[in-house]
Symmetry: C2
Subunit: 337 residues, 2 copies
DNA sequence: CTGAAAGCGCTAACAT
DNA sequence: ATGTTAGCGCTTTCAG
């Protein structure tokens, strides 16, 4: 077994109290005493036992991050930023993948199997927001993307409606008239997809174009393969789109793949816009036009929200609803021809 | 504050012991008693405090995963598999990003700031393997990729030399003679890159071709942009390669990007092979030929190694050195023309 | 400035 | 089958 604070105290000839003070710098310690204690710590290779400290403190210093899947460039990038930001606050991040399962999401929120986390950042997928906030109490929770119904939990997201509207308007500004959308998820109650669809339709209407169901392709998941399939269906159904707005870059890259296979030129025959600004899109052929959310700010704000709740003495902070900036990045897939 | 075991005991009119038994199913409990206890648990919303349990057990049920960066498709995929596999064993994974820094790697191993993890899976980058095993003791450690010098720690990896040899031989079998390599990292003591370079040169020599320094492009990092830059340098230096073996798919995708920019046709003018089999390569244009390591097996084996050490009563298990299978997946970027 | 001791919530040996 | 209790390693109040 590794050595404990008591061992160090014995070796240094002081009490546990003093060792604790040295380790935490919590009180003034005589220089000579400090030196002796430090020596003992080094000799024994002492490391504080965090389980004990947590038990005492009532806090673990661990926060959870629940995302559909790590294997997904957008979430991987975001997770990376969150982990860095958490380090800065001396927090450790445990990552869980819900794989889009409602049960997995609920399990994390209710903390079945025990409480470890001081707070949770979750990007909900299968679970409607109202269930989320109900299940979580009293665990501090920050929602990414999804809108909490009655301001029951903090939320950080881009303005999905406005962003989708801009993306669609951009395609229309190129003179495209048959603008399809890939990425709806009617079977899941996916609030984010609904919002993007809303923005997409709004832009069409403003341009005097009636949204057509045949232009809206649902997907079951958000991988490249789903985008590829949706694009194929779109073409096979004779929709003859001259532009496609995909609700994620992965879907867009899949659509690009199908376009190549079918001998369609991008952007000449069909222009494509994605959403997320993942790195792949900066190096694909052609490069991908996309809506770029400020991921760094999403990470920073989400952690700020958690910190406020975890450290706040008061439990009745109003729920924050933070909108993070985004911008449209025009690249090759929608270049003027 | 949330309720404790004692609260549940009081409410159910039993002792703490009995509640503990119900929660853990550790001993026989009368059905009627069990019902009463369960009722109290539900009413109070009781969840066991894991910090207390860990303190008692001397184990936390948490393992660490240290990788250079989450924002990198290969590591993200691997991390996802490891998280899933860990769940299956009721372990929680905390992820740390070393960002390629030697200090970050050392900090994780020595457990500065306290011991939380029962074990660590690390993909070393800046730190030579001998330092790693020295710093880590007594923490059980599994190395991914890097070779531990004197069998001091478990290690799981593909046969990098053989895999690089195969990839290069494949390009040579297409009739290519000026096969360049992108991805050496002479400044870091990156064992993995060295092994791949070794395999690359071996294949050249076997084909009667002398390796040429001008064909070997070093990189500082492994992102797409580094691959793009290396490819540009290769072309500007007049090396006129007719094939490129990149030590990672990201580098290969960057090289592909530069080839497109320069008007080179892939694979006609230059064939490209990568390493890792990330999803992007299955949908890029052209699709990417690559060495595919069995990532699922890497994840499974790494966790098996950790489990053996964590649960083993004996501390002198010999270090395992596990080689995971790989295969060459031929796609468009090296198709026969 | 330092020592003694209580107690965080849980499990398991011991007792009934 | 269930109750009682010591103690995991740490922080912190209370004394000195």
């Amino acid at each position: 077994m590794s050595s404990s604070l008591k061992d160090v105290a014995a070796r240094a000839g002081v009490s546990a109290r003093t060792v604790s003070n040295v380790v935490n710098g919590s009180a003034r310690v005589a220089p000579e005493t400090r030196r002796r204690v430090q020596e003992a710590i080094d000799e024994l290779g002492y490391r504080p036992n965090l389980a004990a400290r947590s038990l005492r403190a009532g806090r673990t210093g661990i926060i959870g991050l629940a995302i559909p899947e790590l294997h997904s460039p957008y979430f991987a990038e975001l997770a990376g930023l969150l982990v860095d930001e958490a380090r800065r606050r001396s927090w450790t991040v445990v990552i869980d993948q819900t794989r889009g399962g409602a049960e997995a999401e609920r399990r994390l929120l209710t903390g079945d199997g025990g409480r470890v986390m001081d707070g949770l950042i979750i990007s909900p997928w299968a679970l409607p927001a109202e269930d989320i906030t109900a299940a979580a109490r009293p665990l501090p929770v920050v929602l990414l993307g999804e809108r909490s119904p009655h301001g029951l939990a903090d939320r950080v997201a881009v303005d999905n409606v406005a962003a989708a509207d801009e993306a669609t308007a951009h395609l229309l500004s190129l003179g495209r008239r048959r603008v399809a959308a890939i990425g709806l998820q009617p079977h899941l109650r996916n609030g984010t997809a609904e919002l993007r669809a809303e923005g997409y339709r709004a832009a069409l209407r403003r341009a005097g174009i009636a949204p057509r169901p045949a232009w809206e392709r649902p997907v079951t998941a958000l991988h490249r393969s789903d985008g590829a399939r949706a694009m194929a269906e779109l073409l096979d159904a004779g929709a003859e789109p001259d532009a496609v707005f995909a609700f994620s870059d992965e879907l867009a890259l899949g659509a690009l793949h199908t376009a190549h296979e079918r001998g369609l030129r991008v952007p000449q025959d069909v222009a494509v816009v994605g959403f997320d600004d993942i790195e792949d899109g900066r190096f694909s052929h052609p490069t991908l036009t996309t809506v770029s959310p400020d991921k760094g700010q999403i990470a920073a704000r989400a952690l700020q929200c958690l910190a406020d709740r975890i450290y706040s003495p008061r439990h009745d902070l109003p729920a924050a609803d933070l909108t993070v900036p985004h911008r449209l990045v025009v690249r090759g897939s929608s270049a003027t021809v």
